[in-house]
């Protein structure tokens, strides 16, 4: 596990890449989180508001970003996690997988931008970004952690 002294400003967080997000995974996330906004599973609702496809929950993408962070640093050291959602994510179409997988594959990256002390605790601040395989940014934000 990483420790505070070994971390340097500018260090990159290990890059985390999701599997292509499917509609089934959106349904699973809806049930797991309780977010049943029809925007994420009901194509008839989506068409009614002028869109073509259901989209992933922003919080699903943030959940994936959380997985990226906690693959690097234990979640008990996390102090703050904050994101702006930047664009929508359409799931892969199973009948056109090759052409749609890139829009549904999320890569999370980030780096350490500050090391400091607060309330007698050593902390790091890291910026984080999630984007799809076409380069479209899904969210950006930061987290603060207090590793030992």
């Amino acid at each position: 596990m990483i420790d505070f002294d070994a971390i340097q400003v500018g260090d990159a967080i290990p890059v985390y890449t999701s599997a292509p997000i499917t509609r089934t995974q959106l349904v699973r996330y809806a049930g797991a989180s309780g977010d049943f906004n029809p925007l994420h599973h009901d194509e008839t609702f989506v068409r009614m508001i002028g869109m073509e496809n259901v989209i992933a929950h922003g919080m699903f993408i943030m959940g994936i970003a959380g997985e990226a962070i906690t693959s690097w640093i234990d979640n008990k050291y996390l102090k703050k996690f904050s994101v702006h959602f930047l664009s929508m994510t359409e799931p892969v179409n199973l009948n056109d997988f090759e052409n749609t997988k890139r829009r549904a594959t999320i890569t999370v990256s980030g780096k350490v931008i500050k090391k400091y002390e607060e309330n007698g605790e050593k902390r790091i601040r890291c910026e984080i970004i999630a984007q799809d395989a076409l380069g479209s940014r899904k969210l950006s934000g930061f987290f603060i952690a207090a590793p030992p």
């Binding site: 977010d35 994936i64 959602f85």
Partner: protein, 157 residues
Amino acid sequence: MADKSKLGMEFPFYSMTVEKNKIAEFVAAISQKDDTDHIKAIYRDENAAKNVGYENIPIPPTFATNFVFWTGGGLLATIQAVGADLNKLLHSEEEYEYYAPICAGDVITRKMKVVEMYDRGNKERKGWHAQVTILETEMINQRGELVLKARTTFMEK
């Protein structure tokens, strides 16, 4: 559009027990696993969690969304209470501050209020105006400790 007279409104308090199976289900969803046998050990095995210093199976960083969506009527009741329109709704920001771990078996009470409501952009230009609503939710555990604070920003275009 959300009703600006709701600024400052406090929602009723709602409590929820953190179930270990719910944690496993949520982790399977965000880690894109088809079942809970293949998630990280600390999220399914109490001993694995205890071995790395937790009192019990911990929640992942974004699990707190459950305390809002699975209580008090969830999303629809929340947006109705502030007068927002589901057809125009966009989640634009989310922020969590963590004060102490939340683990399986904890009973979390959520205390949510409307802390900001304002217009962004230009009302005269179509597509250039949005109304912003910010909800702040304190999560209190069974010992009365503030363990997590969430700040949720949504926009209606």
